[in-house]
Amino acid sequence: MTEKFYYDNKIVRNFALATIVWGIVGMTIGLLIAMQLFKPAMNLGSQYTTFGRIRPLHTNAVIFAFVGNAIFMGVYYSLQRLLKTRMFSDVLSKIHFWGWQLIIIATVITLPLGMTSSHEYAEMEWPIDIAITIIWVVFGYNMFGTIIKRREKHMYVAIWFYIATFVTVAVLHIVNSVQLPVSAFKSYYLYAGVQDALVQWWYGHNAVAFFLTTPYLGMMYYFLPKMADRPVYSYKLSILHFWSLIFIYIWAGPHHLLYTSLPSWAQSLGVAFSVMLIAPSWGGMINGLLTLRGAWDKVREDPKLKFMVVGLTAYGMATFEGPMLAFKQINAIAHYTDWIVAHVHVGALGWNGFLTFAILYWLIPRIYNTTLYSKKLASFHFWIGTLGIIFYAVPLYFAGFTQGLMWKEFNQEGLLRYPNFLETVIQILPMYVMRAIGGALYLTGVIVMTYNLIKTMKSGKLVANEAAEAQPLPQVYVAQGDDKKLHRMLERKPMIFMVLSLIVILIGGMIEMMPTFTIKSNIPTIASVKPYTPLELQGRDVYIREGCVNCHSQMIRPFRSETERYGEYSKAGEFVYDHPFLWGSKRTGPDLQREGGKYGNAWHYNHLYDPQTMSPGSIMPPYEWLAEQKLDTTTTRSKINAMRTLGVPYETGYEHKANAALEEQAKAIAADLQQNNIKVKSDKEIIAIIAYLQRLGTDIKAK
């Protein structure tokens, strides 16, 4: 007896539309910030559109809005068909869809307003974090509900990847978001300094692993064989690379922290596991490419498959480059440069972008029961997209390599060849122009695709409920033949499968994080390091709000080139009161860890007010509004209290005296500025940020 039922295509269509809309939004913002890097005036003179505030908007929009919606589109389409059932609950599907879009809209509003927790790729403040958790659980509940009521006894490889994605992202998001709220839109992370950095990069790296990789591998395993009409190359390889990938990936995060003050053993684990990651990552690529064996004639004429092939190749390139960049010697040159930016964009534009486009081209005509409006336009999209990636990546590789070497170059006299950081920036500005051109080409392709898909939709009609039929799941199941094998047995037990993958991903995270959190000797304390004064604390929050960390690092590595340029290298004990850590990941401007006392207050004032006066040719935008906006001191008290709760040793009752101390320090700075003919009231935000900058790195400076 076969049962009749209907697939829910409407939810798939909705996610597809969201993917396209947010894709264009995210990429347009990307183009805008790319242009700001060679033309600071492109910030439109507004604090809400400066690089520091909207760069996180770009990354979050592309990762969670564009790729996120694409994942849900792919999962909701393939899951129903692979399990021969409709989604568990239409209501949950709708809550999931609208909830996710609301989260994105909330992000689009709050990030430009400067409400940020500063953790890269997780900048959203705590109320949004909670909303993400809820919606993610809704997604998981809906997915597992669907798996439970399936009509197909075994779970296909795509579903293994979906399950691993769900459990790991849940764990990552929760651990990385543990923070203490100060107000409705401000919070401090529980962890400080080195520990915070470790959590952040464990999260950051695994966002790449379990948001940008595993769900896409799952989608590749469904859509590629469908498009090419070929069997998957190797079932054995799927098993091997799935388990090894999720086990090994979770360990590799510390390679983002090489040569920092993270304990050496943790860095080494990051390197070792990054190297081991090559084969598991490539397992997915070769399984995909070999699935196309005997179908290469189709690739030649089908743009969808072309997108797939270039996407898989980009994935292979990025996952080979990753372990290479994890080697200390290469990382020493590449880290903080545009090399890394190029590397991630090969993955984002090539792997995530191209796979998404291929799936859209395949799926939209199917759910609209029609054919693609124009194959020629799709082909055009493919070529201009590929050209865009090349134009984007190649100049940036060159820029990163050039700048990395320039930072390290000494002349005969033993002095830095380019002591002025700005020289190394000006050198690579032409590359930034080329990168923006590449981005514009890529975006053009997406707009052409949108036109093509709208035309396609108009030529057909959405099959909101697609009829299907299948045998019900047998009550008693006796395994036969291949199904007696161990892994096949596991594929029949979704809950055990989920728990097993949870255990596999927890091992790495626990071994890396527990010792750093519990063993004191990992972070030697320094007696002279004191908590921030109230004014410095407020200034630090203004620094965080403006997203300064997106361009300036606060981590001097133990290299001669860095200690010559900036001063003594950073020690773990210096950051014990830094909730959150602000080490940064890219230097568009110089490091600020030893900025305190290097220049006078007047220099900082002028530099913030109009960077070009103090550093001719600088690409930093002017921060005039800091001199006009009044510092909000009503929060000082709750901030001091929150910090104390987190273990910062402010004496009891200090919160009552804090604002008086703040005013006193602010007045001293304003008076000093007055002496240098700068008239500014002591209650402005610029005073606080100057106080913070002047404090940086002074605690361990020899007097």
């Binding site: 390889l237 002591p419 001669r560």
Partner: protein
């Protein structure tokens, strides 16, 4: 001290460039002609040893089909790629298809390629070796040890550099600095002043954030030795940057001489005197 690197292809003389260009073109043309000649000779030799018999269109068609049949037979041999990747011939695929199908997707039971397993185990062995080297046995240098080695090496290089008599000019310091009025020195000092000092001291040393450098008043001493010292170590509490890390001793000296040469230039908009008269 700008190095002049001749990066263009030009010899400097136009006529010589033209001659070289023409010679290159001629050489390429001779090469092309030689290749063509070789082809003609080869064809001639082949035809004179095995002349191609005259054939009717039917005969030619028949021969072509025979050739194609031969090609098909030859194709059975696996290509280098197939052998390298250890792939099974496509014809054997039907034996590898697994019983299950998911939404019409079949899976093959191909073994994982041996090269893949070698890569997999190879990286695991490498990783274990890496951890042992750096964090268990201590063969590898820690980042702090690497840093110390780097600094020591630089110190040695500096001693070697200064002990070379040709670099004597760089041995100048705040104790042996002497004023010079040499025009070349002043000019070099002026160009160093242009970008680095103007944001604070003004284009002509008239003073902006920093003090006026053209009057007779000095905050930290006006002798050549004093000025050298101020530029070298800076006065951080007043916002004057230390320049010792970015300028060589000779450059510091040139800059000092330029600053001293500004005295009495009376630029427009000069800042009021600060410090003591000297």
């Amino acid at each position: 001290m700008k190095e002049v690197i001749n990066s263009s292809w030009s010899t400097g003389s136009t006529s010589a460039d033209i001659v070289i260009g023409l010679m290159l073109i001629t050489a390429v043309m001779i090469l092309c002609v030689a290749i063509l000649m070789l082809k003609v000779i080869k064809f001639y030799v082949r035809e004179s040893i095995h002349p191609t018999p005259f054939a009717t269109p039917e005969e030619r068609e028949k021969r072509r089909m025979e050739q194609e049949a031969l090609l098909v037979l030859e194709k059975k041999k696996p290509s280098i790629w197939t052998r390298l990747m250890q792939l099974k011939p496509l014809e054997e695929e039907k034996n590898l298809v697994m019983e299950h199908k998911f939404d019409g997707i079949a899976e093959l039971n191909n073994p994982t390629p041996a090269w893949f397993m070698i890569l997999f185990y190879g990286t695991i062995i490498f990783a274990i070796g890496y951890l042992l080297t750096y964090d268990v046995l201590g063969f590898g240098k820690s980042q702090e040890e690497e840093y110390i080695a780097e600094i020591e090496q630089a110190a040695e290089a500096k001693v070697a550099f200064l002990s070379n008599p040709a670099n004597a000019a760089n041995a100048v310091n705040e104790n042996n600095m002497e004023q010079s009025k040499d025009e070349a020195v002043i000019k070099n000092g002026a160009s160093l002043f242009a970008n680095r000092c103007t944001p604070c001291h003004g284009e002509h040393g008239e003073g902006l954030v920093g003090p006026n450098l053209t009057d007779e008043y000095w905050l930290h001493g006006g002798t050549a030795k004093d000025v050298f010292k101020t530029i070298k170590y800076g006065v951080p509490e007043k916002g004057m940057i230390a320049w010792e890390k970015s300028l060589s001793a000779q450059q510091l000296s040139d800059l000092t001489n330029y600053v001293l040469s500004l005295k009495g230039t009376n630029p427009a908009g000069a800042k009021a005197p600060q410090g003591n008269k000297e």
